[in-house]
């Protein structure tokens, strides 16, 4: 029995808690039930796409945490929620 082919999306975003400053820049990220401070901001860009069906509007940030982890985060501008891309 084989069934239908299974497809797994790569680089699927997952929801994440982020503390921001007044400008909306990430300052701390929740990692394993504790807050880790953002040590530095590396990149920031914005995408607006697929306006013709379900609009996608994201504000991306590449940040380095205090523990050395490099994360790509985005804020969904339609819902206001934060996601971790990888």
């Amino acid at each position: 029995m084989s069934g239908a082919p299974r497809i797994i999306t790569l680089a699927a975003p997952t929801s994440i808690d982020v503390r921001t400053n007044a400008c909306g820049t990430p300052m701390a990220v929740a990692r394993r039930r504790r807050w880790v401070q953002v040590a530095s901001q590396h990149e920031h860009w914005q995408i607006d796409d697929e306006w013709w069906r379900q609009p996608v509007s994201r504000s991306y940030h590449v940040v380095a945490l205090e523990d050395g982890t490099l994360l790509t985060l985005y804020r969904d501008r339609t819902s206001g929620q934060w996601f971790l891309q990888r």
Partner: protein, 424 residues
């Protein structure tokens, strides 16, 4: 429980074996050349007569001959020495189940704990061991064997050095007795690097007793971890047990060359045939090769060998041949070769992962481009998936497929698609 050890030491074992083969040289000045053929040849072992003339191991040939013009130089025959030692180990294995060969062929440790009830007193046990040696070695060689028995391999080695041929040295299986025995032994018997020995001597420490009396902190401060070990050995506190050797049955294939050959091209062709035969051996099936060695019988007597330890075990003839070729080019046999023997001595588990995408296979990925997606997959991969499906109920393999590689949204670019080549 103490680990009672017996050390058998046959100094200049290899040279003595040569003298057994050529008894007419006994009583003359003889030296054995070092086995390294790619470097400048030096002396490896020298007989007592040559020693008195000033000839020493490690000397260059010109210097040695200048010191002793009548010196006879012998080419080493490592295969002969290895065979002789294997016979010794086999013979001793009938007396003690725990045997630890040393890097030096003439030094062997035997675990003797618990053998007293079987073979009697320590002297009796040593007598039995030497008797067993007579089954495989000529009496002249056994007569020069030194035997030392003590708790731990270090104590046994020092005892063997202190012993005289025919007069074994026995230290009772008691730490206090061992400490008393070691007290007056020289620091040169410590198994630490020569620089440490030299520093100990320069500090005025010539006996193990003097080292034993120093505080541990002082030894560690001066010599680090080696200092701690040296002190523990000197005090008789460290008694390393005899470690039994792990020796899987080797797979051996031999090829006699129709005519002596020295050209690398001919040797490489012969090696390829040997590898194919060795890998096809039923005893090898399901295992990959980790360590193997090549032994060559040379024209006009003598042998030559090299050992290869692979970083990653392999069962591919091409990988093994590549390693062999590389070493052969660096250090080729010194003379023409009459026969080649390939021995697989170390094994690891089956290296299936590498076989899955075999380049040799016609239906392999590399041979046919991107046919994995087209349905034609290597047979080894299909078999592996079939086996996994039997265990898990589904194929746990996926392949990466492009969805929209230029999309600005990362999760839209690629995906994993379940991969099951056995469905077709």
């Amino acid at each position: 429980m103490h680990s009672l050890a017996l050390c058998l030491w046959l100094p200049t074992f290899e040279l003595r074996l040569e003298l057994v083969r050529a008894p007419e040289l006994d009583g003359t000045s003889v030296a054995l050349l070092s086995p390294e053929t790619h470097a400048r040849r030096t002396l490896w072992q020298v007989c007592e007569r040559a020693w008195h003339a000033g000839v020493r191991p490690g000397q260059g040939l010109a210097q040695a001959i200048a010191l002793c013009p009548s010196l006879t130089l012998l080419e080493p025959d490592p295969t002969h020495y290895d065979t002789a030692r294997e016979e010794v180990l086999e013979a001793l294995g009938t007396l003690s189940p725990v045997i630890q060969p040393d890097e030096e062929r003439g030094k062997i440790f035997l675990g003797m704990s618990g053998l007293g009830r079987l073979h009697g007193s320590a002297q009796n046990q040593i007598h039995l061991v030497l008797q067993r040696l007579l089954d495989v070695l000529p009496p002249a060689l056994v007569a020069t064997t030194r035997a030392g028995m003590a708790p731990g391999t270090f104590g046994a080695w020092v005892a063997a050095v202190r012993a005289r041929p025919g007069q074994p040295c026995v230290v009772a299986d008691d730490p206090a007795e061992l400490a008393r025995f070691l007290e007056h032994c020289p620091v040169t018997s410590l198994p630490v690097d020569p620089a440490t020995i030299e520093r100990l001597e320069r500090l005025g420490l010539s006996t193990l007793g003097q080292v034993a009396r120093l505080p541990e902190g002082a030894m560690v401060a001066q010599f680090g971890a080696q200092g701690r070990d040296a002190r523990a050995w000197a005090r008789g506190e460290r008694m390393d047990p005899v470690r039994p050797r792990f020796r899987p049955r080797p797979i051996r294939v031999t090829l006699d060359l129709p005519a002596p050959a020295g050209q690398l091209m001919v040797l490489n062709a012969a090696l390829r045939r040997l590898l194919d035969r060795g890998l096809a051996s039923p005893a090898r099936r399901g295992r990959s090769i980790h360590t193997f060695r090549l032994i060559a019988q040379l024209e006009h007597k003598g042998s030559w060998g090299l050992e290869i330890v692979l970083r990653q075990p392999s069962a591919h003839a091409e990988s093994l041949a590549f390693a062999l070729r590389s070493k052969l080019e660096l250090a080729p046999p010194p003379r023409a070769v009459t026969s080649l023997t390939l021995e697989f001595t170390g094994f690891a588990g089956a290296a299936q992962q590498n076989d899955l995408f075999s380049r040799d296979e016609r239906s392999g990925r590399a041979a046919t481009g991107h046919q994995l997606a087209g349905g034609k997959v290597p047979a080894a991969l299909r078999d592996a998936v079939r086996e996994l499906k039997l265990r898990l109920g589904h194929s746990p393999l996926y392949r990466v497929v492009e969805l929209d590689p230029w999309s600005r949204i990362p999760e839209r670019r690629h995906a994993l698609l379940n991969f099951d080549p056995t469905d077709a």
